[in-house]
Each structure stands twice: as structure tokens, then as C-alpha cells.
């Protein structure tokens, strides 16, 4: 065989071996985070978070004096109003419309289609969120999620299917529900108030009503709320994050714009428990005849470092077809690193041998990134005895981000040559990673993990290689004062 066919094959071998870097994925997710609030679900977290934000900023506004400036509300009364408004233990109904997009200096903002969300919540924890997406280029779509009776049901009318996930533990359900309604989102705004961050940017009078414009900045983003003090409801809110927030200083060229998310509230009301609320906390009639599909949870024995992770590997392969190569030896998988997390849960990194799929480092050629050939899969078991949540899986040594709702942010990756791995954060501080059996694991401070960082890999010969990394943690974020 001549060298030419080899050459062409080598070209394609190069392409076949390419893996996206962690930074590329996270920057894409960051770019899409607001833009893709079109996709149902993710936006629930973001959208409802901003709703809660609105209430919380209201607290700030009420208590921090601006209301008294209008002469319509005393500080004490404002505090009482705010306390009531922040109490999301009761029933409520909120409808809001979210538009997202980018703003470039000197150019008109570019916004995507609107997402309308209609959310009902009962004091006993039942919640239903219906999303409708409409916009140019992607038509109209909707989804409906109901949490009730220990289950999460996702009804997709266009597929005539209902996906049912039954939780073994109530705590697991609450965690999952928090992905759609993170109670900690309110904490951000309460904390912003406590921290004295909220400022009154202006008061305007519209049709006889005082409208307050309240602002605060946090972790590189700016937040604004328009609040109708007469009707005591938020009118709209805006979150703005500079694109440069997702870059290292050396990368800021071409990233001068901002990601913007605007929310308009069309309904914002407390609803007492009763028939009205119950009627809205059910699936529509069509769901009864829809195909019922089980979305089974993953259960694995309590992870022990060095012990078999075969059940986890098989579950990953089953739940995410194609994510592991056919050459992966699922039965030989083992836990390389197991870490207890601050909230009591566990994070475990499974090392899955992949003898058939090894790729040479030179062919990868991604800035000197090391590679394993083996696969790594991260799982979190938030509550002992509960289900495992598989977060990320990768072969070829790509670093993976890990985060959860308790604000644990970690970086995991594979390396065959390193004797030490350090994570250098944007402010210059360094976190040394645990390195075991070719897998590294580092828990990063939540606030600092929101910025890009460098992964410094020290090889056995002492040479140091650097690559960029980022973990995109949409919610919840660390609070002011933490």
C-alpha cells in the first residue's frame, strides 16, 4: 500500500479523533443558555428564577427606602409586602414571556422568538409548567411538565407521548423540581438586598402608577427590574451578561456585546389552594391516551473508590446510546475517584476501559491536550439510597464540567502523562486537582468557576501544558456575601 491512501486516511483519522474542548462546549452552552430558553425546561429554571428575582428585588426596593421616596408606602409596610410576596410556599400562578438575544455595540439588538410559560404551583409541592415557543425559524412547539404523586411527567402533545419518571425518594423529586423552580434563585436577590447591592435607578409615573427601576450587579451580570408599586407586581426584568465574561482576558477581542434576557410578566398572582388550583395541576385529557414511556431512574450501589462501576457504566450506555464506544469494556469499569460533597451527596468518577478506541496524542493535536483512550463518566448520588444522576461522559480525555444545585462545581478530566494538574482561575488563584489512575478531579469555588480558567498539566518530565476550560453553571449561582 502506498503512502497516499495512508495519507488520506490519516487526514480522516485526524478528523475522526477530534473532540470538542470543554471551553468550546461551555461557551456554546453559554451562548445558547439564553437563546435556547426556547427549549422547554431549561428556561423554566431561568424564567422562574427571574420571576423569583423580581419578587426578591422587590424586597430590596421596598425595604431599602425607594418606596418611601414615592410617598405611597412606608418602609415597614413595604417590608411586610415584600415578605408576603417572597413567600412562595403558598399557591401561585405566573405567566411570563421571555425573549432572549444579543446586543452588540452600535447595532440593533437581535432577539429570538418568544417563550411563554404558564406556571401553577401548589403549597404541597405539585407544580405544572406549560411552555409555548413561537418564533421565526422554529415554528411553534410546546411541552407540559407536571410534578405530582412522586412523579415527573413530561407530556409532549406533538409526539403523543408522556414520559414518566418515578422518584424513589422525595428528596430526589425536590432536587429535580428545583431544576425548574430553584428556590435558591430567590436567595440571590435576597442576598443582593442584604448585601446592599440593589439600587433604585429611577421612578417613573405611568398612567398614575409609580414604576420603580431597580438594579444590581453580580458576578459580571447586571439585573434590572421594573416594578409596579401600585399593583405590587413586577412588570418586567432584564438580565444582561457581557460576552467577555465567558472569555479569558486574552480572548476578549470580538466579544464586546452582551447576552440579554428580557422577561415580561403577564400574570403574577397568589392562588389559594382549592378547586381552581387543583384543576390546573393536572395533565390535559390528551395525555390519558398518549403513549406512556418510562424514564427509569438509575440506581447503583454506593460508590467505593477502586470498586466496580459496571452497573453505572451499563446504565450510562443504556440511557445515552452511543455515548460510549462499542469497544468500551463496561464490565471492567471501576470508580477512580469518589468524593463526598458538602451537602451530603457523593460524586463518583467511573473509569471505563476502552482498549479498542485509543487515539494517539499527536493525532489529536488539540493544544497538547492529553488523552486517555479510556472513557470517564461522572455521576452524582445526591441522596444515599436514591438515584444516581449521570452528568457527563467523555472518552479521549476531554475535561468535563460538573455542577449541581448545591453549588458544587468541579472539573474532571483524563490524562495519561500528568503527574500533577492545577486549575488556575481567572483571578490568579490556583486549585490543585486530585489525580488518581489517570483521572483528575478538582472542586472549584462556585463564584470563580463562573469564569473561564486554565488547566495546567505538569507531565512527568516537568513540562507544563496549558489549556482553557470553563464550567457553565446556569443556576443556582453563588450568592453575594458567600
Amino acid at each position: 500500500m502506498s503512502t497516499e491512501p495512508d495519507a488520506l486516511r490519516q487526514l480522516y483519522t485526524y478528523a475522526r479523533a477530534l473532540e470538542p474542548t470543554s471551553a468550546e462546549i461551555q461557551q456554546t452552552l453559554a451562548r445558547c443558555q439564553r437563546a435556547t430558553s426556547r427549549t422547554p425546561g431549561r428556561r423554566h429554571a431561568a424564567v422562574l428564577a427571574v420571576i423569583v428575582m423580581a419578587v426578591a428585588v422587590l424586597v430590596a426596593a421596598l425595604v431599602a427606602n425607594p418606596f418611601s421616596r414615592s410617598g405611597t408606602v412606608s418602609a415597614a409596610e413595604a417590608k411586610a409586602q415584600a415578605a408576603a410576596a417572597l413567600d412562595f410556599q403558598g399557591g401561585w400562578h405566573i405567566t411570563r414571556v421571555t425573549t432572549t438575544g444579543e446586543v452588540q455595540p452600535g447595532k440593533a439588538p437581535v432577539f429570538s422568538g418568544a417563550v411563554t410559560e404558564d406556571a401553577w404551583h401548589a403549597p404541597d409541592g405539585r407544580m405544572r409548567v406549560q411552555s409555548t415557543i413561537a418564533g421565526a425559524g422554529f415554528g411553534v412547539c410546546c411541552s407540559l411538565i407536571l410534578y405530582a404523586g412522586g412523579e415527573r411527567q413530561i407530556y409532549m402533545a406533538d409526539r403523543k407521548s408522556t414520559y414518566v419518571h418515578r422518584f424513589a425518594l422525595a428528596a430526589d423529586l425536590r432536587d429535580d423540581e428545583r431544576a425548574f423552580l430553584p428556590p435558591s434563585a430567590a436567595d440571590l436577590y435576597r442576598a443582593a438586598y442584604r448585601d446592599g447591592r440593589v439600587r433604585l435607578a429611577g421612578i417613573t409615573r405611568v398612567q398614575g402608577r409609580d414604576i420603580y427601576r431597580l438594579e444590581f450587579d453580580w458576578l459580571g451580570s447586571s439585573y434590572t427590574l421594573s416594578y409596579d408599586s401600585s399593583r405590587r407586581v413586577p412588570i418586567s426584568s432584564e438580565a444582561r451578561t457581557p460576552m467577555s465574561r465567558f472569555r479569558l482576558p486574552a480572548q476578549t477581542a470580538g466579544a464586546r456585546g452582551s447576552f440579554v434576557s428580557r422577561v415580561r410578566y403577564t400574570t403574577y398572582e397568589q392562588v389559594d389552594p382549592g378547586p381552581l388550583l387543583n384543576r390546573h395541576l393536572t395533565l390535559p385529557a390528551g395525555a390519558r391516551t398518549a403513549k406512556q414511556l418510562s424514564d427509569a431512574p438509575i440506581f447503583v450501589p454506593r460508590p467505593v473508590q477502586g470498586a466496580s462501576a459496571a452497573r453505572l457504566a451499563r446504565a450510562v450506555a443504556h440511557h445515552m446510546p452511543g455515548i460510549l464506544p462499542a469497544t468500551a469494556h463496561l464490565a471492567d469499569a471501576s470508580y477512580a475517584i469518589v468524593r463526598q460533597l458538602a451537602h451530603g451527596g457523593m460524586a463518583a468518577v467511573a473509569l471505563i476501559p476502552n482498549h479498542g478506541g485509543k487515539v494517539s496524542v499527536s493525532m489529536l493535536g488539540l493544544g497538547g491536550r492529553t488523552t486517555l483512550g479510556n472513557c470517564i463518566s461522572i455521576a452524582e448520588i445526591p441522596h444515599l439510597g436514591g438515584e444516581a444522576v449521570t452528568t457527563s461522559t467523555s472518552c479521549n480525555g476531554t475535561s468535563l464540567g460538573f455542577w449541581n444545585h448545591d453549588r458544587t462545581n468541579a472539573l474532571v478530566g483524563g490524562t495519561t502523562t500528568a503527574r500533577r494538574v492545577d486549575i488556575r482561575l481567572h483571578d490568579g488563584t490556583t486549585v490543585r486537582a486530585t489525580l488518581r489512575r489517570g483521572v483528575y478531579f478538582a472542586i472549584l469555588p462556585a463564584a470563580k468557576a463562573r469564569y473561564p480558567f486554565s488547566i495546567l498539566t505538569t507531565a512527568r518530565d516537568g513540562s507544563i501544558k496549558r489549556q482553557l476550560g470553563a464550567i457553565w453553571t446556569p443556576l443556582p449561582q453563588p450568592l453575594p456575601g458567600e
Binding site: 422554529f138 413530561i154 457553565w472
Partner: protein
Amino acid sequence: MVVRAVAGQETAREEIARRAFRIALRTATATLGSRPDAADVAGDVTADVLAGLGRLREPASFDAWVHRITARRTLRALRRRSEQSACDLPDDAWASAGLGTDEAIALREVMRRALEQLPPRQRLAMALRYVHDLKEAEVAAALGCRNGTAAALLSRARETLRLDPLLADFDPAPCGESR
């Protein structure tokens, strides 16, 4: 996973993003010859995928759907570049592949020459066929053409490469022969 991603589960969305990005990155690199350009395409593809995930009716056809989006985006990028410079393949792709020796430089020139000779759709068809091991029918689906058209594109590409004196011995396996 697609369903969970549609429902908003962050981890599933990240896996979806990673998978889409990987598929697009490989195809675009093999077509455009530049990893940075390919990463731009892959970013666009991933954004399209995340935005349109709710419209994907059959989760099992996720990869095929990503291939279609990638094909469209890559062709657009390739044509845009063609308007600027007919065959301007930057060196970075080859440099990043770790080729540095005289032999590697020669191989690089051969590859540059091979890609230069192929029109956009043939490049893309070859990438889909030889990077992702897609069958002819799958290549056709990704390109949005008939099976016969895809077969013709691949055949012409192989013939072009075969006619090149520097690639005279090139004899890749026929389409669909192996997976």
C-alpha cells in the same frame, strides 16, 4: 437523553451539546480543513440543535438530524470561503495535527491538493462517508439528496483523487462496504 434535554435537564443538554458539537466538528474539519473554522461551524450547529431540539420528533434519529444541520452549515461556510478564496486552506489544520517532519509536510501537501480538487458537496460527502462511516443512504439523507446523487458525488470524488498523479494509488473502499 433527547427527551430529558428537551425537558430542560441541564446534564442532558450538555451531553446533547457535546455530541452535536463533536459530530459537527469532525465533519467540518474534514471539509473545511481548519479546526478554528470548523469550531465556528460546530458552535452554530450546536446552537441550532439546542434551539430546535423540541422539534425533533424521533430521538433515535438525532445523529442523522445533526448530520443534516452540519451539512447545511458546512456547505454555507465552505461557499462563503470559496467566495473569498477558491482554495485557501489554512495551515493551522495541519499544524495542529502534529505534522512537522519532511514526510509529514509532503503528506500535508498531498492532502491539501486532494481537498483543493473537490467541489464543496464532494468534500462534504467524503467527510461524511469516511469520518463518520456513514452509508451512502445516510450520506444522501445528510445532504438532502437522492441515494444515487450521493453515490455519484462519492464516486466522482474518488475518481478525481484517483486521477491525481500524487494520489494515483488511492483506492478507498467502495461506499457501504463496511461500517
